[in-house]
């Protein structure tokens, strides 16, 4: 039986990928960022997930205004790192898990979430930077990855509540998969940042830390927070944080906080990172937060 054992949340700032790829991770500016992931690398080497369900957003790379799926799932056997305008990142090809992805798609659509199924998906920094932060620079990624792409570029994105509920539906899907798999779910993007216009550079530590607290301990309340609150308080691009709720929805009501890291700045962005574990013996399997 497949089981979601843990959730990881992390920002996916493109400059972090560039710093790593260009050998700048020990520079004074970047060292504190990577230091926040030293524990995480040891933790995941021991946790050994078979599959990561990686919730991210495409930044006008695989999708454009020609096609904007609100939620999409990558069901292919592999996903190629994308050229985002400066050449593709020198990172391994991302191997998918078509059987589990197909199962999730079928299960979740039957739970009234209309996922778009994608079989050709070049993955951008939103997906590859979190892999680099957690696994470093291996020759091949040590696990399979199922991309879940959420539209947060064209307003309105799905609500926090919708994301949270989709997380629950994905949990039910994984729990019903007939295969012995250790599965993690990652939520990426955020935290407070604004990349456009005269208000660019906005950071809101207070909002970010309150978000982290509520995501861990009171996600149902956080799920009810409307978009405008994120836009106003965390910046126009801070709205990516709804993707963290998708991750949280797939975990148990009570989780163990294993690691928490917050750092300003990573280029234009406040960087946040959490590792949350489900208890070893799952309670309320099937609908963990009903």
């Amino acid at each position: 039986m497949a089981r979601i054992t843990a959730g990881v949340a992390t920002s996916h700032v493109p400059a972090i990928g560039a710093a790593l790829d260009l050998g700048k991770s020990a520079d004074a500016y970047w060292a504190p960022v990577f230091k926040g992931y030293e524990f995480s690398k040891r933790w995941i080497a021991a946790a050994k997930p078979d599959v990561v369900i990686l919730v991210y957003n495409d930044h006008a790379t695989a999708f454009s205004l020609d096609l904007v799926p609100t939620f999409a799932i990558g069901c292919a056997a592999s996903f190629t790192p994308a050229d985002e305008g400066w050449g593709a990142r020198p990172v391994p090809v991302v191997e998918g898990h078509p059987e589990l992805a197909d199962h999730i798609a079928q299960s979740v659509i039957q739970q009234d979430f209309d996922l778009t199924i994608v079989n050709r998906l070049d993955v951008d920094h939103g997906l590859t930077v979190p892999l680099s932060l957690m696994f470093g620079q291996p020759q091949a990624w040590p696990c399979r990855v199922i991309p879940i792409a959420v539209n947060v570029v064209l307003y309105p994105p799905p609500s926090g509540q919708r994301c949270y509920n989709l997380g629950k539906a994905i949990r039910r899907a994984v729990d019903s998969f007939d295969g012995d798999l250790n599965v993690q779910i990652w939520g990426t993007g955020g935290m407070s940042h604004q990349l456009q216009g005269p208000r660019a550079g906005l950071i809101n530590r207070e909002f970010d830390n309150a978000f982290l607290d509520r995501l861990i301990h009171d996600p149902q309340a956080q799920a009810r927070v409307p978009h405008i609150e994120y836009v106003r308080e965390a910046g126009s691009e801070g709205i990516e944080l709804v993707m963290w709720l998708l991750m949280r929805g797939a975990l148990d009501a009570r989780v163990r906080e294993v690691h928490r890291f917050y750092h300003v700045p990573a280029s234009n962005t406040a960087l946040g990172h959490l590792i949350l574990e489900n208890p070893a013996e799952p309670d309320g399997r099937g609908d963990p937060q009903a």
Partner: protein, 131 residues
């Protein structure tokens, strides 16, 4: 027009909603074309000629040629699409962000290192900034 825009009073911010996306469709799709290395080369070799292949407005083309990112955003551009343009120029998100704030990249980077632009005074148009 989309009726409900609670974000209209957020200062210095243009939300890329469906109205903006309609306005900026060709501008953004021009930017998308720069994801292909061959197109980047063609654009660099003759920017105006390349732009003329796209059914963009003259204002949009001028904003691209001038690398006026605030203007491009006002004309329907979205930052993740416009990123293809500044990536073609070999520039970073931090370069583009600094440009849009009217700060030098050095001053902007310093502001970020000191904790970023504060939220106080930046929630609503007309709100009085503290300090």
């Amino acid at each position: 027009m989309t009726a409900d825009k609670p974000y209209a009073d957020v200062p210095g911010t243009t939300i890329f909603d469906t109205d903006q996306a309609r306005l900026g469709y060709h501008l953004n799709m021009f930017c998308m074309s720069l994801l292909k290395a061959a197109n980047r080369e063609r654009f660099r070799a003759g920017e105006r000629a390349y732009l003329d292949e796209w059914p963009m407005t003259e204002d949009q083309k001028r904003a691209v040629l001038a690398r006026d990112y605030n203007r491009m955003i006002a004309l329907g551009g979205n930052i993740y699409y416009l990123a293809k343009l500044f990536a073609t120029d070999g520039k970073s998100f931090q370069y583009a962000a600094a440009l849009m704030t009217g700060m030098s990249q050095e001053d902007y980077a310093r502001m970020m290192k000191e904790g970023g632009r504060p939220i106080e005074g930046n929630r609503r148009v007309g709100e009085k900034a503290r300090g």
